[in-house]
Every structure is written in structure tokens, then in C-alpha cells.
């Protein structure tokens, strides 16, 4: 595959450290994101998928581990200039298109905020031209520039959020549940737009969502998270066809499909974390069951999973 854009090494994000209510939201996550790909991150609410995204972009200071962007560490002490450089390369699209746009700013100012901060436009004219261009890229038009967020529908607002992210010409975009708040007919529009932008601009995405069918559709590879850990990671088709970890199986078996015949016969698999029975001597880590298909397991489970896999 292509070169690595981002390497995440043993990333940890704990909250309330040292207090009795300490939460290990992200507990030692390691993975790479390649240039130009879409990596999907799925899991239930509270599994740490959003925290992972937010820690990568440095919205939280990581408790431990490293995030390398093009080989350089994102975290750690940094001068203002260095921080700015990273902020430009990484952008984020948020879940709630209502809460993530400042209601008192015009669309032009929202989109151009990044351009202003990074000094990407030399004149007012150039700034507005860039805004118009961005609006067009995301399927809105010039006239929208002077309006306020409340004048737009959810789908349109999400388009504004995407335009804002694109304004600073980033290489990497973290999309945290970008379509969850939208209607079905609008979701497809936004997903198509994200895919088109990726083709045209060679963007790399980290796509965080709980809607597994959309994640499968948009992602090249998918990581499944459970309680702050990645339990399985594989190419999206592989993950859906040959899930190995019992949690992945259970998650896949829970998705209702728009097919009544399938629904009548669907058997839901239940995941019980105690089934692993990891002892203190078990080394539980991500192991490669098949090429590029990683599963969190102990030595003993690894043998068992491999046998099961080969039988298929």
C-alpha cells in the first residue's frame, strides 16, 4: 500500500487521572493511516472512537503514546508556529451541524476564519474568491456567503462545515459522525460529496461512525473499537465477510438490514467479554490472522482463530 500519513503508537487518553473515577477512554491504540485512504472507526457509544479522533487532532493532550504525522510528532511541547502548521494539515468535521457553526457569524466568515488565521489570502478580494470557490465545491452557491447558519438545513450546514475544513487545504480530515444527524436522503448526498472531494484532492479521512453500513461503504479499512481498544482491523470487505473477533461478529449480527426476509431469519450473536478468560500470563495484543487482518487476542485464541479462519 501507499506510504503512511499518520502513525498512531500506543495512544492513551485517560480522564480523571489519579482519582477513583478514572476512565481509560483510549487504552493503548496503535494503527496507521495511509495516504489517500479512508479509515473507518466503529464501535458503540463510549468505546472511545470519538476520543481517539479528538486526541489525534490534539483537542485533548494525550496521556501517553505518540501520533506521528508524516513522521513528526503531533503531541508534546510546541511553539505557536509549529502548532499552526499542524492545525492547517489536519481538520475536523463534527457531528452536530447545528452546534458546530457559530450562529453569529456569516457563512463567509465561518469558512474564511481558517484562511485569516493562517494568512492564506493576500487581499479581501482573494479571500472572498476563495470562499465562493469553496461554497461551489461543496455544492452551495455564492449567494449563501452572506447568510447566517440558522438559514440553512442540516445537510446544508454540514456542507458549510466541510467547506470550513477544506478552506486551509488540509491533507487529513477527521470526520466524527458527519452524517448521523442527517436524514437518510441527505446522508447519501454528503457521503457522495466526501468521496468526490477525496478523489479530487487526494484527501485522507478518518471516518468515525456507528452506522456500520455507511462506514463499510465509504471506508477502505475499518477498525472496530471496544472499551478503548481496537479489537479488529481489516479491509472493509474482509471485515464484513470474515469477522473473527466475537465482538465484531456480535456487532455485525445486530445491524438490521432493509430486507424483510433476512430480518425474519437473522440470529443475533451476543458478545460476552468474559468468554476470553484472559489470565495474567496471557499476552493480549493485535495479531495478524490473515494478511492485513488484525485481531486482538491471546496466543491461545490466535491459534483457534487461525484455524477457524482457514476453514472458511
Amino acid at each position: 500500500m501507499a506510504e503512511k500519513l499518520i502513525e498512531i503508537k500506543n495512544l492513551k487518553q485517560y480522564f480523571n487521572v489519579g482519582k477513583p473515577n478514572m476512565v481509560k477512554a483510549v487504552d493503548g491504540v496503535t494503527f496507521d493511516i495511509y495516504k489517500g485512504e479512508t479509515l473507518g472507526l466503529v464501535g458503540e457509544s463510549g468505546c472511545g472512537k470519538s476520543t481517539t479522533g479528538r486526541t489525534i487532532i490534539r483537542l485533548y493532550e494525550a496521556t501517553g503514546g505518540q501520533v506521528l504525522f508524516n513522521g513528526e510528532n503531533v503531541h508534546g511541547k510546541k511553539s505557536k508556529a509549529e502548532l499552526k502548521k499542524f492545525n492547517r494539515k489536519m481538520q475536523m468535521i463534527f457531528q452536530d451541524p447545528y452546534a458546530s457553526l457559530d450562529p453569529r457569524m456569516t457563512v463567509a466568515d465561518i469558512i474564511a476564519e481558517g484562511i485569516d488565521i493562517h494568512g492564506l489570502a493576500k487581499s479581501k478580494k482573494e479571500r472572498m474568491e476563495r470562499v465562493y470557490e469553496l461554497l461551489e465545491t461543496v455544492g452551495l452557491n455564492k449567494e449563501h456567503a452572506n447568510r447566517y447558519p440558522h438559514e440553512f438545513s442540516g445537510g446544508q450546514r454540514q456542507r458549510i462545515g466541510i467547506a470550513r475544513a477544506l478552506a486551509v487545504k488540509p491533507e487529513f480530515i477527521i470526520a466524527d459522525e458527519p452524517i448521523s444527524a442527517l436524514d437518510v436522503s441527505i446522508q447519501a448526498q454528503i457521503v457522495n460529496l466526501l468521496k468526490k472531494l477525496q478523489r479530487e484532492k487526494g484527501l485522507t479521512y478518518l471516518f468515525i461512525a456507528h452506522d456500520l453500513s455507511m462506514v463499510k461503504y465509504i471506508s477502505d479499512r475499518i477498525g472496530v473499537m471496544y472499551y478503548g481498544k481496537i479489537v479488529e482491523m481489516a479491509s472493509s470487505d474482509e471485515l464484513y465477510e470474515n469477522p473473527v473477533h466475537p465482538y465484531t461478529k456480535s456487532l455485525l449480527s445486530a445491524i438490521p438490514l432493509p430486507d424483510p426476509d433476512y430480518e425474519r431469519t437473522r440470529v443475533r450473536k451476543i458478545y460476552d467479554p468474559s468468554q476470553h478468560q484472559y489470565g495474567p500470563e496471557d499476552k493480549v495484543e493485535l495479531r495478524e490472522v490473515a494478511p492485513n487482518h488484525l485481531v486482538l487476542c491471546s496466543e491461545r485464541e490466535f491459534e483457534q482463530y487461525k484455524k477457524e479462519y482457514e476453514k472458511k
Binding site: 437518510v184 436522503s185 453500513s213 438490514l257 432493509p258 430480518e263
Partner: protein, 354 residues
Amino acid sequence: MEKLLEVKDLQISFQTYGGDVQAVRGVSFDVFKGETLAIVGESGSGKSVTAQSLMKLIPMPPGKIIGGQILFEGEDIVTKTEKEMEHIRGKEISMIFQDPMTSLNPTMRVGKQIAEVLIKHQNMPKADAKKRAVELLHQVGIPMPETRVKQYPHEFSGGMRQRVMIAIALAANPKLLIADEPTTALDVTIQAQILELMKKLQKQTNTSIIFITHDLGVVANVADRVAVMYAGKIVETGTVDEIFYDPRHPYTWGLLASMPSLESSDHGELAAIPGTPPDLTNPPQGDAFAPRNQYSLAIDFVKEPPIYQISETHFVRSWLLHPNAPKVEPPEIVKKRMRKLPSSFEQAILVKEA
């Protein structure tokens, strides 16, 4: 099958500064005993307003029922007073909402919230109601119900709160349960549990359910019949098989086509429905879906399409079924799921509207 609820030409509007929003524009449907009717549609299609009007939960003003009837066991709900409604709400018809946190009282113990229903509607003595509350919690699958009844809603997780809501809703053995997006806020694994629970309880009690959702996967799982709503009107109704395997309305096609399939490894463009739903302060002339519809005919922009009957149970509001309409092919991805159903008539029959 016996009809429990009959909605006839219901029209509801809301007064706003921008003018009257015609949220529901002539909706008719029936609910039979023991069945699950799913109402699907986007936000703003009027599905929640329709459901809330069945219990008269719409704030009036600004809301107003302009016309139509809601016959529950033959009696019209529209003309009932607030006092009379108190005997229907929670006893005859009850409701589960999308967000279990905002629909439970945060200052009241869960057990008391359940017992309240029993004391009010079944004149149960307090002690008995408390015992029954424990049983109900057990019935909806909450472990350790004896300790849980004494807890407050914030001590429960999202899925558990929704179970409590179901326990409250079913406490007085209602004949009709309205579930307004009950699983939208939940994770898939929890959603699957709640859906299983609802189906199990329905089997035991023979309650009819109106299930409102925009998730077609959930519809395929729970529904016996489906009504598809768009811009305040029902555009297609049929059994779950008819809607998923023989859809006839272009909007239903659009909904089915815009969902990626889990089985196929096709990563081509999704068939999105272009544009956005219309503004219902000034509903467009003719078919409200026409501007977003790639199959729209010239007449769609002028005249509201009539209803055509495809089978005993399948009704579609579209000009495409007119004998003189051009033959159109649904999108590829919808064609793949199409099959010939034995129940459909040789020819679509025009339904005369009153």
C-alpha cells in the same frame, strides 16, 4: 382482522410568524389489532405530528387539527375534551419517545413513575402498584428489579432507560402503543435488544404498535405494514414485503437506493435524492416530491396525483400508475430487490377519494 384505529383525511397545521405550516395534509390509514404499522419519512414529513395527534399531544395553539377524523375503536378522538383524553392517554394509547432521558422525570424514582400509571388508571392500591412495578421491570429485562425500582433515571444507561419507558407505557395494558423513533438514540446492539423486547411483549399482550422511524433496516425488522410519508402525505402503503420487494413510488425507490448495502462490495456513487424537502408553509402545487423526482411527469407539477391500488393492501399515490403514463424503470439497485408478488392485481385500480 379487526380495525383498532382509523385515521381519515387528517389535516394538521401550525401557526407560525412565517404563516401556517401545513404539517399533515390529508393522511388516512388504519391500524389493525395486534399488528405493527411502521411510518417512515424524513424529518419534517409529518410522521411525528401524525403520531402525536393520535394522543392529542400537539400543543394547541399553535397547532390545529383542521380536518379529518381519528377513530379509535369507533370513537372520534379529535372531538374529545382534555378531561376525556386523560382516560385514554396511558390507558388505551401510550407512547414511547426517542429520548428516554428527557421523557422520564429526573426527580422521581423509577418505581414511582411506573406505579403512577397503575394507581391512576387501574385504581390499584399503592402497595400492589409497587409490587407490579417490580414485575414490570423484570418483564422488560432489567436485572435486579427490586433494587432498580428505587433508583432515579440518571442511574440507568440509555438502553435501560428505554426499557423503563416501555415498562411505563405498557403498565396499563394499552391497546395501542406509539413508538416515536424509540431506538434512534441507541447503539445497534442495544437497538437489537429493544426491538426484540418490543416484539416479545407484543406477542404476549397483542398490542398494536405504530412504529415511527427513518431507519429502513428497523422497519424491515419490526413492521407488518409500512406507510411512507413525504411532505405531510402518505405516498405509499403496503405490507412490509410489498414495500421492500415491490415498491412503486419513486420516493420509496429513492429511500431504498440511498442506503448502501452491506452485502455488496460496490463502492460506486450512492443514489442520493437530490435537493431538500419542500417548505410546507407554501406547499408546492401538484406533487410535493416532483422537484426532487427524476421520474416526474409534466402533470406532477400541476395536479396532485391520485391513489392507485396495486393489491388488497398496497396503495400508491403517483401518476406513474396511470394507464397512459410512460413506463419507467426504477434505479438498478431497487430493481435488484424487486420481485413479482402473487398478491398484486393485474392492473392498478384508481381509488376514488371522498
